[in-house]
């Protein structure tokens, strides 16, 4: 590893005035990604176990979800995303009434 760069050059912009807020948001997004990865893994693990018993690790590595299963996974992701950003939806209480 380390042959190809993982990060773009240049400074990352700060979108928030509160120190640490931008980094915190990145952490949350990475956490969300991790959770999504785990959910997908578990989903597949269960499917594999259901089909053929306990030789899970190798089977998971080569597993390709069916169209139906992919749709179910997409739904899981969309539900998770809607949860994470629920504070931005207008039907919920606003986070702040920040004047311009």
């Amino acid at each position: 590893m380390g042959l190809l760069p993982m990060e773009a050059s240049g400074r990352r912009p700060a979108f928030f005035e509160t120190p640490g807020m931008d980094q915190l948001l990145s952490m949350i997004l990475e956490l969300a990604a991790e959770l999504s990865v785990v959910r997908e893994r578990v989903f597949i693990l269960e499917a594999v176990l259901e089909r053929q018993g306990v030789t899970a690790a190798d089977a998971i590595e080569t597993y390709t979800p069916s169209a139906e299963e992919s749709a179910a996974l997409a739904q899981l992701r969309d539900d998770a995303t809607a949860n994470i950003f629920r504070t931005l939806n207008r039907e919920h209480r606003p986070v702040t009434s920040e004047p311009l």
């Binding site: 990060e7 773009a8 912009p13 979108f15």
Partner: protein
Amino acid sequence: MPIDLQHDMKVPHRQSARARQDFVSSLRAYILNDMAAGMKSRYREAVEPRLSAQLGRPPATQDEVHAAMKGDLYFKFYSAVRYNAQEMVWRSVVPGIEASLPAMQAKAEALDGRAGGSLTLNPALELPANVTSVDVHLMPGVYAAPDTPAAGAVYDNGLAVFAAGFMGRDLNDIGMSMANYVRKRFPDFRPGNILDCGCTVGHNTLAWARTYPDATVHGIDVSSSVLRYAHARAGSLNIAAHFHQMDATHLAFPDASFDVVFSSMFLHELSVKDIKHFFAEAYRVLRPGGLLINMELPPNQSLEPYDQFYLDWDCYYNAEPFYRAFRDQDYAGLTKAGGFPADGFLQFTVPQYTYMDDDSFTEAVQRPPSIDGETGRLSATLQWFGFGAWKR
């Protein structure tokens, strides 16, 4: 969902990486549809009325809108999430590519020359500053590793995640939509030689070969890495195309050698000065009766201030330094500056060719262009924008 690359240059990604790509792609679709709609409502309902009251008139420029939106919490979240998602696109594909570098190199060598295509590199070419001084689209080390197809692989795999399903199964919907626009709108025009400028991995170059199977298709880019990948990719798809390492502002082709000069998502990577050089070169290498055609974002002058601001987000936050300066131009004026006659100018909007049947597309291309806040932006209601000019 990210699309699965449909060619032999694709690399295996571990299941956990594929799941991460799935997440990032779904997140991008959420940002571009749901959050974009939420932000626009927020603007209409809260920000714009306050701004209009402050100014004593409706906002007239995107700078006024941008300045007001910067203070809005929805905008901060939209921007921060979108920025992070952009970083995460690349992070989700790099490890799989890194693990496959030797295999990819071997595959590229094995595919060399298949399908009758060619690759002509020019190691003496000086890379322009617009690709060496900035990691465009936040793509890490965008033109690094010139002797391998690595940058091409990062671009192609990244695009598959980034596109979030909006660019077609073969990531070629832009090329297919543009080429088929020409085929349907101008049925008597039968190009024999076609040039794609700033072609990167050739995904849209090959669309022209598919649409005009009798034509000879060329693609140029300044990066040898993306071209090595493009050449192998075309070979694996069994489509003949000729790739050259060349700068679009200094084409090495003789005068009057092409019927079509095409570009997609390319002009906004160039300074206005370079766009004018490119158009002058396009005019030179086109035959009389030939067509310059560019797929791009619509011009700012055709959009409301909010929509201008929305599309120019990339200029401020996605390492696209020339994006806005290009979109502030009068596109007809740019083609005229390149030598094209004023009455040769054309502009149009088209729906996505690979997402619909041929008859519906045929009907759609006869309609006059309709440019609004949805034009050219990735969303569920996408219409591509194109413009160009005929050489008389």
